[in-house]
Symmetry: D3
Subunit: 151 residues, 6 copies
């Protein structure tokens, strides 16, 4: 059974995230959307809110679940028996960053593979960081959030 983890803070969950999941779902028997919790970081949307809204969005998809974790992503994968991480790549800067993370993870657990797909071009500029900034300034972020997703 191929179980995959899609890790992130999803603050907020965007069309970009949904697109990665949709396009890789057939590759795996199960995808766990894993919300990383770092007690030193401040989030815009409360954790409880993010869990609820993502779970709700995927409630009819039995292969997708939502979990939270603290600590290293690689340890979380081991705890739940996931052999794959899933990530999207938007730009070559993303690539350099993701490469370091993926290879460090593999140094710790030789069995853990990170599988990448390239972001849909029309979504490739969506960044949670910028979405938060727009939200903070009372801008309209609805176009960056999946249709039917309730924040």
């Amino acid at each position: 059974m191929n179980k995959a983890v899609f890790p992130g803070s999803f603050d907020p969950f965007t069309k970009g995230h949904a697109n990665i999941i949709e396009r890789t779902l057939n590759l795996f028997d199960e995808i766990v959307i894993a919300i990383g919790v770092n007690s030193k970081k401040q989030y815009l949307f409360p954790l409880e809110n993010r869990i609820q809204s993502i779970s709700n969005f995927y409630k009819t998809e039995p292969k997708i679940s939502v979990k939270t974790y603290e600590g290293l992503t690689v340890n979380f994968c081991q705890q739940i028996g996931a052999k794959y991480l899933v990530r999207g790549l938007r730009t070559s800067s993303d690539f350099d960053y993701e490469r370091t993370i993926a290879l460090m993870n593999k140094s710790i657990d030789k069995q853990l593979e990170t599988v990448f797909i390239i972001s849909a071009p029309e979504l490739s500029a969506i960044s949670s960081t910028v979405v938060r900034e727009i939200y903070n300034h009372k801008g309209d972020i609805s176009q960056f959030i999946p249709n039917g997703f309730k924040i």
Copy 2:
């Protein structure tokens, strides 16, 4: 009438900034140097100082004005009726960052175009961040500041 905004924190204003303005001035009827104010950020040079010194430097150039703004750059452009943003590109890392910002801005306002020019090579390593660090350690920053510019 083509009005452009050149946004930044200009902390401090450098030869790199002056070069971008000088080289794009003929493209526009008016360029507004827009100093972004983020109440959560600490600046090295006081806002009042930056407004004064930049205004003074361009006082004989009727097409250039200096304004401040809070919030989203795209909202500021709408308020003053500017259809263009102007930015310089130094490196491919700059490109990936600026691409995200430019495309997010355009998502919010379809009419807003960001126009880029490539930094003059001899100025391409000037970074306000590094200039501040040099200044903080009592280094001489005069070679990074436009000739005749009074900080």
Copy 3:
């Protein structure tokens, strides 16, 4: 009068090219689509064909004309009195390549500025090279060509 040159081989002219022109047209009084002719290169679409089809596509737009040139782009700009080049940037690899060309051009003619805009994300993977390859293998290229454009 601000005259700009949009240089390329346009073999073929794509939605990506049309988008660059459409988005920069208001910046200039005149844009010359300049088809570079290199006698050592083989083209897929005959030169005469490219001139006709692009001219025809823009026949109702008085600010746009189509010309051909041999030799250095910078010399062509001088001959027709253009002070600007217009180019699109899709990726950071594009950036490194375009940077070299733009700075070399400016070394030869200090007055010549290259103005860049960032390709619309949904068009950012369109490459004439790949379009030709698809065409050569009898694939359908219509989705990469502007609507209403007759090759």
Copy 4:
């Protein structure tokens, strides 16, 4: 059934290629190593030789087969009913190139996903182009070829 194509010219097949296959094999029910044949290109190793040596190397692995194709990769995938392409990413230059190819493929066939993994760091500088150059100058290429692989 998830069938994947790993396309390339494999001139020659390297440790880098073998590593990509080994690490993605569990994701798919079947991986087709697809040797692209371009009648205009010159290859170092004859096609027959490449088919034989790769087939021989994987003869005990029932999920892997070797095929050749001409024309567009996307058409070949459709002919054999493959919904996935597999590719390795070594550098950010690779990324920009592969991004264009992957997105163009997806433009032609919306169902076709390209799945990437990041090359093992110790193999990340192996390039068939450079291996050919070493071979042409009578250098020893054995360290770049999988152990037990007979060219």
Copy 5:
């Protein structure tokens, strides 16, 4: 006499750092491992600890010494009469960052050259930032630290 400075925070010192020093040692008569101290930053390993452990690791190598400095690296180099900085490059993102620093340093002191080597590929994903994160979550970091190095 060619004296070089290898600057960093070395929080912690990794196999990547050791590899850079080992591979450039023959180029110089003396290499000073210079631990930069920034009173505003928080470090994981105490300064005293880092000085001791690095000094101890190189105690049999007379060409290597360990020093600390505050302020600009370029000033430290001048104080100790070093004409070279040594840095490793892992990725193209590293390159853009290091380029800015190297060129700014050279703007301040025309005599100061930064010499780069490319990280050994198997070490190219080791990042002190990620090592600290692993350590903070009680992960095992021994594989990222030089053999025989006592933290």
Copy 6:
């Protein structure tokens, strides 16, 4: 004795090349400017011309010599007992390319180090390829060639 090789085709030798040599000369006891000869490539300037003009330019510098070689650069380094290669880096695209070459060379000869410096920013857009194109179109290339260098 530290002997270094600066390899290239130098077709033509530019200010960029001269700058790399000038800035690394103190690091080595001897620098060999090594003109690679590839019988399949066409050069703009005849080999004899390049040898003469570079030798002449450096005739008063006893540490610099000019040699030609065929085949692998790494073999040439071994034949003349050079332990270092010297290269300049202009852009992040350069970095990815040079990284592959440097690591492949080191795979063949573990003792061979490639030492990089970052091109002077005002020279960072000079490319022999573009200089040849300008020359071919009867443009003036004198500003890209070192002062006093006779092509």
